[in-house]
Symmetry: C2
Subunit: 377 residues, 2 copies
Amino acid sequence: MKIDIIAKDGTARAGKIKTSHGEFDTPAFMPVGTQATVKTLSNNELDDCGVQILLSNAYHLYLRPGEDIIKNAGGLHKFMNWEKPILTDSGGFQVFSLAVLRKVTDEGVEFRSHIDGSKHFLTPEKMLEFQTSLGSDIMMVLDECVHYPCEYEMAKRAAVRTLEWARRSKDRAGGDFEFKPNREQNVFGIVQGASYRDLREDCARALVKMDFDGYALGGLAVGEPREITDEMTRFTVELLPEDKPKYLMGVGEPQDLFDAVSAGIDMFDCVVPTRNGRNGTAFTSNGRFSVRTAANAKELSPIEEGCGCYACRNHTRSYIRHLFNTDEILGLKLVSLHNVYFYQKLMREIREAIKEKRFTEYKNERAEEWNSKLQTR
Amino acid sequence: MKIDIIAKDGTARAGKIKTSHGEFDTPAFMPVGTQATVKTLSNNELDDCGVQILLSNAYHLYLRPGEDIIKNAGGLHKFMNWEKPILTDSGGFQVFSLAVLRKVTDEGVEFRSHIDGSKHFLTPEKMLEFQTSLGSDIMMVLDECVHYPCEYEMAKRAAVRTLEWARRSKDRAGGDFEFKPNREQNVFGIVQGASYRDLREDCARALVKMDFDGYALGGLAVGEPREITDEMTRFTVELLPEDKPKYLMGVGEPQDLFDAVSAGIDMFDCVVPTRNGRNGTAFTSNGRFSVRTAANAKELSPIEEGCGCYACRNHTRSYIRHLFNTDEILGLKLVSLHNVYFYQKLMREIREAIKEKRFTEYKNERAEEWNSKLQTR
């Protein structure tokens, strides 16, 4: 896998990445389909929003429905009937944030399921094998995540372990598989190292030597100040090869996307558009607002004037607010759908701005607009 | 309003009913959109299912969002952006089943909201006025419902009061209105009388004298044996004018529809397809079954082979079962959508069978098939 760079504007870049399930444009935002479904939305709705690639989560799928059921369907694409690219997260982050009684050793991680308390032992090899049987177009290596703030020694131990796990994952990826629904699968390494430059640098250089199909930045946007996220991102991106995709995991708010794109990031994922959608918080070019407020009780305008999404073409804020007030599922869907559409539109605009060499201008304009009107409604 | 009878087969009839929001074919099944939304489904999905008319509920809409907000939108059609016909139930049944501390007098009914305990006093005139401002194509008069079993004297008192309320509703419908978003609104009377022939007969004859746009049978399918529902339906339908729509409220299961159509009923509504959908119970021509059972864990067939709905064209039982297991909203939608589609398809088949003078044959065939395979999966 490589990225075809179509245009550059400073360090920001617009390109295309090919997979055996079609290509996607970068910078790309992947909606999160944790449990093989982007919450509240059906595939035709994701298509209508312009989604070209989505993320699912190996940790969750490993627990439910489990490997057997997904193998039986012929892999994850067939299981959920999504024909475009899928990236699966290894579950590193979930094991460290959701699972209970975990015990990490160099071998792997032992934990109890957050669902039923059942005991599991995951190794880097096992998660690579599982993602192979999912048929993910992009598989992530198992990594060890640390919290913020994290002491240097602990961050170092996790980074070293992540590197060793990356090596073992890469080795396993080169081996034989009984069940492999997708012949062209790619593996991304994950740069850890918390907010320590030297750890990030060592980790990045070692991963590059292992020659992954792409590189992710992990352990960022986990609570540290935005300046640190930005500094670590810029610093790390420069250590990674130009012709490979660069993915900033778990990011983020529109402002974060602007920053990271300008640093040279190509791929993003985040629950922000969907989780906020289910809370009734809508994203617009004028900032975000809650459709649930009394101010929207009689508001006959859509979530965003001129927006082409199904929700905005068909429904008023007044109606959507009523749906939230009465706990109607359609409300959750309409705002989620709008937000997913909004994020895809944002990425299209970002790509256009890069191609037209006016990304910085666009970014500043939008950021200013966004900040000035933030939560004013 | 009248019904254009296109074909008759015994007492069963197929026709068309015109409204100012377009016409609908009968026998018709109206999905229930209690709170101005058919739970989990968007309007484009209802269109895809072939829905031609839906039911909403004046009692619920009166409490939330309230008259003011719906008037502000220009009526219910505009509020929910549904351009086809809408029938609104008056809320009689809901006042008697949901509201607390109700007190019924000849004047009206005093109750406390089931949502926030607020006190309300509804009269037949007020409910007619409210439905007028909703712009419903068909408005139902406020009636007094009784439970099953119900003693004769109590049933009689309720029937007499329902008649008097019907008269007052009819009078109010002929008056002036400040806000009337739909100029061609129709009012249906409701025949009550529990399971007492003489009460049903008196009520029906008196309503017919008042000359309503259509007639509903209320207080049936409230727990009485199916034989009684069927007997009361057949007996009452014969007392009503041939050229007017006849509506059996709150019915029902497919078997009930077959019986009532053969008695001459033209319209139905019921929460059965949507409520069951949200429980994971799917209707098929082979009976109904739960997609949640372990038997479906690896089942790669759709809910129903050959079904043209979005769920069946796109997803396996295995996937839908996973969605239910993981509490994903998409699961609720897919089965609801299938069931609404199934009911619309059933009504199309019923209409075709009547037109081809083979309704009894079709009904017996389907009933036998249905019963023999009922819940065998």
